[in-house]
Symmetry: C2
Subunit: 346 residues, 2 copies
DNA sequence: CTGAAAGCGCTTACAG
DNA sequence: CTGAAAGCGCTTACAG
């Protein structure tokens, strides 16, 4: 490596450009561009000289510059609630794989369930001019996205719909899943069934509650207000909600846990309860079959949701102009034991 | 909104630029730049005219262009094995939070434990000119990164060290953790202890094996070749490795599982075993205390590892030029039951 | 307080 | 087969 050839080329923080390569190879800028992009029409001899200059200088094309000129950034943004939540792992990975198959990189971030942070993150991604966005929204008003969508940033919502704009969405059948779960508990003899769910401003929480009520109504069962508790999924909140339902004069004999965070706490609480209480959890989780009793769940398919959303996104980027799609992914009830426990009176 | 003011401004896929804003507001380009960046020295009246033009046109600064000019991209890359692996969730989230506190975005991707894919991804990130990289390496030769590091891309390895280059690394005490785990089993009376670990080309697998051997040697215990099995962590592979150790004429009475993937399968296998077998798992996992028996683990702190690595990365970006740091994060043995089972002869 | 010119590192459109 | 000029959308350095 001849380091002297270009005085400052190895200076920390300074990179050689195509211009430097051109100068060293004794060719024009466009010829370097042709070689770097594998375009035809360069003599083998010229190409070799350019390649030599590239390796000698340690040149790597600056894609930021390329992107500025070409218009498309070959990157998409993924905004979700929390990168650390196991539910979103397979979803993220699925989105990444689809992006990769289209040659795009993934920029992602967590909204931490904060609408303001969601907006800040989404607009930062728009400013970077990502080609498209996959959003698991925290907020319920996405009118701020309208100029961006109009300007051409393809956007698909997953898990929860967009608020106050009409946009592509890939949701799971929250209503049907919750309804099936409660019908399952009723079929096993339960009449007093509790529901502990996420905050009511979250679409999935409302839909699952609707499914719960629908199944109760279909069986002609009343729902006592004290059997329903929506709020934060923090362990303390779930714990006290469950305690209230279990310690009441007429306690619930079964519980529907509104998502995987709630289920995990519910399993802990019920493990310490004085009598068996049936449990169905919304969302499957890795060790559900190893806990005793094994946990009956309503399983979603987060990888399929991610794949579906990303697939739709890239079809939009390829130019399809149909009206917004609203796709619903079915859920699946998996009986494992906890949901088949019969009612035990206190 | 007067859509006629700029004929094509609302055309799908075309965005207004600062030039458009300047023309509409009747000011120079630099004045728009001042307003957009909140620089001082603009009369309130001028500022208002510019702001009006910005909203009317739906202008959003193109950060790609800004970045090209400024040099820094305010983004960092995170390359890990698999976004869907629960071990990496908290690590990713921690890196994200540090990046966010420095105003940077996170671009991330999975290597799928494939060295070629790791390199491809890392170099794509370098071409995008990320300011820095946090890498959980799949490969063991990172000389390909040398020109990039020389050119100023800060790089910190996490969980596993760089191969054939000297670079910053944040590792956990794999050796000590495994040694403590095995010493714990020995203290509970075990003499024939198995180790099922990840592929031997993975640094953590080798270190943990070394810890295993060290503890056995310290207690004066022999290690039969059939008690050690390194390889894929796919359930079938782990299952057959465990079966071989448990069905031998002189079966092992305890098992050290080399990581969370192995532990989960080991729990399933041991749950179906004819006699109790002790188990310690490397890596903690969410429901370890709910399985029966509850699983004794050597816990790492992935969030701390992520925070430490990202913190170091940004200190490098701030210009510290000390030689590479090799930080070791301690592990913690958490006894929960499975590791305290005494030996049972077959 | 304000703006015209040059330039970041590429690609595009065109000419030889 | 090869290259000079213009331009992508900003910021920088400078002048008024």
């Amino acid at each position: 490596m001849t380091d002297t050839a270009r005085g400052t080329s190895r200076r920390y923080g300074t990179r050689p450009t195509m211009k430097d390569v051109a100068a060293r190879a004794g060719v024009g800028l466009k010829t370097v561009s042709r070689v770097v992009n594998g375009e035809a029409g360069v003599t083998p001899d010229t190409e070799r000289r350019v390649q030599e200059a590239i390796s000698a200088l340690g040149f790597r094309r600056n894609d930021s510059a390329r992107i500025l000129r070409k218009g498309r950034t070959a990157s998409i943004g993924l905004v979700l609630e929390d990168l650390a939540d196991p539910f979103y792992g397979p979803l993220s990975r699925a989105v990444e794989e689809v992006a990769r198959s289209h040659g795009a990189l993934l920029i992602n971030g967590s909204s931490a369930e904060d609408p303001a942070r969601e907006q800040e993150l989404v607009l930062a991604l728009c400013a970077r001019r990502v080609d498209g966005l996959v959003i698991i929204p925290a907020g319920d008003d996405h009118r701020y996205l309208e100029p961006e969508i109009t300007a051409g940033i393809a956007t698909v919502f997953v898990d929860r719909p967009a608020g106050r704009i009409d946009a592509d969405a890939v949701l799971c059948d929250n209503f049907g899943g919750a309804r099936d779960a409660v019908a399952h508990l009723i079929a096993h003899g339960h009449r007093r069934i509790g529901f502990i769910g996420d905050q009511p401003r979250i679409h999935t929480a409302r839909e699952r509650l609707r499914g719960y009520r629908s199944a109760m109504a279909a069986a002609g069962l009343p729902v006592d207000d004290s059997w329903v508790s929506l709020g934060s999924t923090a362990p303390e909140r779930v714990r006290s909600a469950a305690a209230a339902m279990l310690d009441a004069p007429e306690p619930v004999t079964a519980l529907l846990a509104g998502n995987n965070r709630v289920t995990v706490t519910a399993v802990r609480v019920l493990g310490a309860a004085p009598r068996p209480v049936a449990l169905v959890g919304f969302d499957d989780f890795e060790l559900a079959d190893l806990v005793r009793p094994a946990v009956t769940v309503v399983a979603q398919d987060p990888a399929l949701m991610g794949r579906t959303a990303a697939g739709l996104l890239f079809r939009r980027l390829d130019g399809i102009t149909e009206p917004p799609h609203h796709t619903e992914i079915p859920t699946r009830l998996i009986p494992r034991g906890s949901g088949e426990i019969p009612p035990t009176e206190g």
